[in-house]
Subunit: 354 residues, 2 copies
């Protein structure tokens, strides 16, 4: 909790004066638990939260009675009552959503955000719809715009020319639209510099320890520690095979520990054969295929007083965290976090105010 | 539910007369929900269930008051009271677990299972511990053996010589141990033939539609349908890029639909760029990188009456199920099932008795 709060403060202190630092807590706060995470961020001073969909917004409203909450997927017909009751703000992504919301907003004057697509081609008004909106400003009449957003496609690649192109197109769109707070950057975009901050940034992954700077030192604090217990330790002869498909063959006699974690817990099957685990301060290789509930590690050379039944193995920690495990599994830290499964006992440590 | 029950009956009818067909429901019944799944299997006639750990066993006991429940991870010191209260049977995996259980079993006469490792090197008595157990039968005195198990490492590969070697070693172990029901095969092992059935088989994945026959037609019924809604549809010009990293570039002008599912829902990031989705009876490609809450699909050429906001896209169905999605994502159906995330609205259809 303290690490999440510290990461949020670190980003807040990094953005230019006057820029609001929101927080993205969609997907159950990237798998870490929306309740404790959002509460910690709120206590740290965050006042604006983003979630993906209406269900998440309703859940977050029960956790944070006073925060501003924005729904990235926008607004769907027939959900106006839920939005109004929970005081949720949709991020309007196309003319259809604007029209649907406008009928509602005329009654309630509830604010909404507007999302302009500048090159993700995923959500947000495409260029032709932006043109239509500019030509027919009545389409927005009665809609109170709390902010205008766009989203960078290549923010984790400083060298990508797409960043500057998207910033240029976003600035041009802002000039053509009614004045509102502007926001372009999520975690990685914040590190592209002040000209990407505008009035509002919305970090998500960086709050949870994911490195926003691909290929460079991680400026964020690790948030998740993951441990699992050794269930069995066995001596194994040279040439013995381990796991499904007999995929690992021992080059020499040794000892293998079976650990109670598997891909059902988010310890990806693709983690073998590159991933490693920590035991007694040393790194040991994961060997054999990761199975649903179990992984096997080579503990040859580890003191049996440490590599013993009931001892904990470090799967994610400060030295080998979500970014390192993601690299070894062929994915990104974001997916490591959201895949952490329901069987883990979750313990929330550290005071967010400390 | 009907498909799961039918799959269980199909396997039961396949095994040789006198062989009991158990069911593996660990990892929340491979992600499908242990409550409804175990209830359906019980109603279909299954009387013996396997889970991975004590927590799962306690949860299953609350669902099925009368079933026999075995805990694959075995027994740990200090948990005897929970095992006794919930009438759980450990699968004893090493001499340490046997010793710990024996102290308990002397009081309660509660049955346990014994797991002999014949080549997985994961759980189960390694050869040297088996020798010691045979030399010192007192180690088992007072332990009522409900069954003796082993586990095949290469059952999904009919041609692997390891199958016959493990069967041979399992038979040899059985001759050296007190008589008890014997079980070697899980889903794939059942299809290796009657000589792999012994007294007990314990299918898991096949019950849930995972193909137990790698590279051949799936003998099981698909169980999971997965749909997600289209949130936005956009026209996109030739050369336009889609998603993070601008990873997809449109070879010609077309239409892109953004669908409300992502890797936080188990729609793996590794699914791009090979996976596809179904819409209006046609297959369309997933384009661009899968993101946390969203995927983009190319709906150029699909009638806009079908490819419209609010319409459902088929992500898993009878034509493109867990096995096909697993292939396109570089993993196995098992991991597809256990990764299905908490945001899906789960609807249990079909009467298990029908």
């Amino acid at each position: 909790m303290a690490a999440i709060a510290a990461n949020w403060r670190r980003l807040r202190d990094r953005v230019k004066p006057g820029t609001e630092t929101a927080a993205v807590v969609k997907a159950d706060a990237y798998g870490l638990g929306m309740g404790p995470v959002a509460s910690a961020l709120c206590a740290a001073g965050c006042g604006l939260f983003f979630v993906a969909n209406l269900d998440e917004g309703l859940a977050l409203r029960r956790i944070l009675p006073d925060a501003r909450i924005a729904i990235l997927n926008g607004f769907a017909l027939g959900t106006g009552r839920e939005f109004a009751r929970a005081r949720l703000m949709p991020v309007l992504n196309d003319l259809g959503q604007i029209e649907a919301w406008r009928a509602k907003a005329m009654e309630t004057r509830a604010p909404a955000l507007l999302h302009i697509d500048t090159g993700m081609s995923r959500l947000g008004l495409p260029p032709r719809e932006l043109d239509r909106l500019v030509e027919s400003p009545d389409l927005l009449s009665g809609v109170e715009l709390a902010a205008i957003l766009s989203h960078l496609a290549c923010a984790d690649d400083r060298a990508s020319p797409k960043n500057r192109l998207q910033r240029r197109d976003f600035r041009m769109a802002l000039k053509r639209l009614p004045h509102a707070a502007a926001g372009l950057s999520a975690s990685s975009g914040i590190f592209l510099g002040r000209s990407y901050h505008f009035d509002l940034v919305r970090p998500g992954a960086a709050l949870y320890g994911v490195n926003p700077l691909v290929g460079r030192a991680n400026p964020m604090i690790q948030v998740v520690n993951l441990k699992a217990k050794i269930l069995q330790v066995r001596e194994i002869d040279r040439g013995g095979t381990v796991g499904y498909g007999a995929a690992h063959r021992m080059a020499r006699a040794g000892r293998v520990a079976t650990v109670g974690v598997g891909y059902a817990d988010g310890w990806f099957r693709s983690a073998s054969p590159r991933a490693s685990a920590g035991i007694a301060g040393r790194r040991v290789p994961v060997i054999g295929r990761v199975s649903m509930d179990l992984v096997t590690i080579d503990v040859t050379g580890i003191d049996p007083a440490h590599a013993r039944v009931g001892a904990y193995v470090d799967l994610l920690d400060g030295a080998y965290g979500v970014n390192e495990f993601a690299r070894d599994s062929g994915t990104i830290g974001y997916e490591v976090l959201t895949a952490l499964g329901p069987r883990h006992h979750r313990i929330y440590r550290g005071d967010a105010d400390s």
